[in-house]
């Protein structure tokens, strides 16, 4: 393998973007190689420049990028400085691209078959329209889509996210490229769909001997799927090597940090709820909750869909309950019902003996003190016109609580934000800081229950680890209870002591986290657990030492 020249060689790549006020160096000296038939993962956090590297390889840098310096060689041919006319011949024909957002990356007014055929026609790989259509169907079938002839006639909005991603893979492979660049190909997809897409990509690259540059923020995906990993930080590739070594024995401090921060199924589980002398006491009891939405069908008809369909669970004081499920499982609707932002069609939400579903509005407003939310989109949940101080003080103002300035200072301290952030607006904060502000606001009225709807999914892993540690500490110090909604089972395992698995509005399984994750009874739970990248299924003793899988627990045990 080492004898043959690598398929793609990137050497000392530098890319800068011109902004109105200054020049930003996005990539400052990145070097990596992708051998033919191998998968190389380019890992880094947001802003590390990993996507820019992918775009530079494709020659698709946006306007405002300064000319690239360094070298990008594909099979010995230098791509940097190549005129755009010649690059057009390379793109699609020699390098395929699988973009991140499957829904946004297809033309909404064109049938998907035509979009696959477009690449074939541009590169004159087919002679006639009929042949292009036939070949497009073959490609869709190769991409693992059932009934390719029918799918080819569909518009993108008629397909699911996973199907759209398969269409994009078909487009990328239409020209039988030697190299495939996949920029976060599965980040927008559910974990079970992610697994199938990644399996498919692995199969295709193995069969055709295509090199794959897999750009991802997810270290577990990289560890599972790539032969080699390149870690990027602040525009530089800080470490590159075989996956097992990079994960198992990271040489660079930043890589160690990333590995340590990655939530894993082997990390220590959350402590059980503090058992009180008088025994567990129920704080929240949800009984047979139901919410039905009317959905308009494409053909003009209407359909009633039960988003939440007979959900019941209880949460004891000081406990932490995880709700897991994929998109469309009804977990976020459940959160809306718990917070009474929406009214359930039937069922009860009993908080401390009071049914929130039927309580009168004035009483409900007073009860809101006890149950506070933290949403996924920290940026969207802060009013852009408010300063941090105004945002945190808002619940206090709503209930006319005095001494707000001192309370805000106290809360900032509690969530470990410097007092200098008081006067800032949300745009001036980082993602992690914004989520801390949201947590401070939720804590302002000293609630008993926090409903956290995917509070860390939008954050980078190292920031995520910080927020999770904060949540764990707050729960312990303030005796809070959590309802923690997440699609990420590893995170739930870290934070929660009980878990509810939801699918299509129904609870399919529930119980203590350790039990459910170790011995899942429902097939859906098993599928979810199996789909976790890295295959870290519970404390599996079968993991061979020295592999990437074993390395994470070793690293993690230190924490």
């Amino acid at each position: 393998m080492s004898e043959t020249p690598p398929l793609l060689t990137v050497r000392d790549l530098r890319v800068s973007y011109r902004t109105r006020r200054s020049t930003v160096d996005a990539v400052r000296g990145a070097s990596l190689t992708v051998p033919a038939g191998e998968t190389v993962a380019l890992v880094g956090e947001s802003g590390s420049g990993k996507s820019t590297v992918g775009l530079a390889v494709l020659g698709l840098l946006p306007e405002g990028a300064e000319p690239v310096t360094g070298s990008i060689a594909l099979g010995g041919r230098e791509l940097v400085g190549l005129p755009d006319r010649e690059l057009r011949g390379v793109r699609g024909r020699e390098i395929g691209f699988v973009p991140q957002d499957p829904k946004a990356s297809l033309n909404p007014v064109q049938r998907v078959g035509a979009q696959v055929a477009e690449g074939l026609r541009i590169h004159r790989l087919v002679d006639s329209r009929a042949e292009a259509a036939r070949r497009a169907e073959e490609l869709l079938a190769d991409a693992g889509l059932p009934e390719p002839a029918r799918v080819a006639q569909r518009f993108p909005h008629e397909l699911s996210g996973g199907m759209c991603q398969r269409v994009l893979i078909a487009i990328a492979l239409a020209g039988q490229p030697r190299l495939l660049v996949a920029d976060e190909p599965t980040s927008a997809l559910d974990v079970t769909v992610q697994r199938r897409i990644l399996d498919h990509l692995a199969e295709v690259t193995r069969d055709a001997g295509t090199g794959l540059l897999l750009i991802t923020h997810d270290l577990a995906v990289a560890a599972e799927r790539a032969e080699r990993i390149a870690v990027m930080s602040a525009g530089r590739v800080v470490e590159e090597g075989p996956s097992a070594r990079v994960i198992g024995a990271p040489a660079h401090a930043y890589t160690r940090e990333l590995v340590a921060a990655a939530p894993s199924m082997a990390a220590p589980a959350a402590p059980a709820a503090a058992v009180r002398a008088e025994g567990p006491e129920t704080l929240l009891a949800v009984e047979d909750l139901r919410k039905v939405f009317q959905v308009r069908l494409p053909n003009g008809g209407r359909e009633r869909v039960a988003a939440v369909d007979g959900v019941s669970f209880t949460l004891e004081r000081g406990g932490s309950l995880g709700i897991v499920g994929e998109s469309g499982s009804g977990k976020s609707t459940t959160a809306q019902l718990l917070l009474r932002l929406d009214r359930p069609d039937s069922g009860r939400v009993v908080l401390d003996g009071v049914d929130l579903a039927t309580v009168r509005p004035a009483r409900l407003r007073r009860l809101r003190r006890d149950i506070q939310p933290v949403f996924q989109d920290a940026y969207g949940s802060l009013d852009p016109t408010f300063t941090v101080e105004e945002a945190i003080a808002e619940p206090l103002a709503a209930f006319g609580v005095g001494g707000r300035a001192e309370r805000v200072a106290e809360l900032l301290d509690l969530v470990r934000l410097p007092s200098t952030t008081r006067g800032r607006r949300p745009t001036e904060l980082s993602g992690g800081q914004r989520q801390r502000v949201c947590i401070a606001r939720a804590l302002a009225l000293t609630p008993r229950l926090l409903v956290l709807d995917e509070p860390v999914s939008a954050l980078d892993v190292s920031v995520q680890a910080g927020i999770l540690a904060l949540l764990a500490r707050l729960r312990e110090e303030l005796g809070l209870s959590y309802v923690f909604i997440s699609h990420d089972l590893a995170v739930v395992r870290q934070v929660c002591d009980r878990v509810v698995v939801m699918r299509r509005g129904k609870v399919v399984e529930s119980g203590p986290v350790a039990e459910v994750f170790a011995e899942p009874r429902h097939p859906y739970t098993r599928e979810l657990l199996a789909a976790i990248p890295g295959g870290l299924r519970a404390p599996a003793p079968a993991v061979t030492a020295g592999t990437a899988n074993a390395a994470i627990p070793q690293e993690k045990r230190l924490t």
Binding site: R20, R21, E257, A260, A261, L339, L341, R365, R366, R368, R369, I371, Q372, P373, F375, D377, G380, S381, L382, D383, P384, T385, F386, E394, P395, A398, F399, R416, P418, T420, T421, R424, E428, L429, S430, G432, Q433, R436, C438, R441, A444, L445, D460, S462, V463, A465, G466, I467, A469, L470, A472, R473, L558, T559
Partner: protein, 307 residues
Amino acid sequence: MPMTVTDTDTDTDTAGTAEATGAPQEREHAARARIGAALRGTARRPWLLLAALYLGLVLAWTVAPGVFAHQDPLLTDASRGLRPPGAEHWFGTDNLGRDLYSRVVHGTRTSLVAGLLAVALALVVGSVLGALAGYLGGWIDQVLMRVVEVLIIIPGLLLSLAVVSILGFGTTNVAIAVGIAGIPGFARVVRAEVLRIKGSAYVQAAVTSGRRTPAILLRHIVPNASPPVLVLAALDIGGAVLSIAALSFLGYGAAPPAPELGAMVSQGRDYMSTAWWLTTFPGLTIALVVLSTSRIARALERSGVSS
């Protein structure tokens, strides 16, 4: 070891902070740089600059017409009738010997005040209706929006004509009529903005914070909905001035001899072949007001006047 993890995050966050804001002096410096850049940007767009200068002049005419036009716009002097533009009478004189320049200056004032009044009326009433429809939803929304749709179907000028024939003639009534025709546009824009903001997570957070509806409307929805609405208002000023001039042209506006641009164009029509200046100068003044306001409103729209 969990401590280590926390520290890491704090580090990352503080790094972001330093980058985001920095010391107050730096911020001030940045603000000054931004103003400088804005000025340079304006200089690079001469039409925008001209539009702003022209509107500045027109506003000055409106505030203090006496400073700009020393002659009485109503003073007739039959011996000086229909003089062409010259040093003594910049824009010439009309058939009764009145100085056209000072009539244009005073007439602009009438038209512009009426236009602002019309837009203010449309803005206030339209915003209230749109906000109510958007926030409360349900049957209120249905009823209000159906009414707005009916109003939108009727051509604006026709609607204004109908209203003014009910209210009676006069500049104020014309302004009210034009304002009423502008209400549907504002109601729809405000409703759309309110719907967008109502669905946002920060409004949900405010609800769970225990905020009452009026407070949410006042503190969250109005400030966040205002930028696009204000751009629409700026765009509408030109159109309102034009509509008012049109209605005055038709004779619904200010009663003679009071100067009003539309009425002046109408009166000048009789002398079109002999005295071109009678229609040209008032007409040009209206056209330039409309063009300038729309040029400036477009610039505002593009810069996104974000809060």
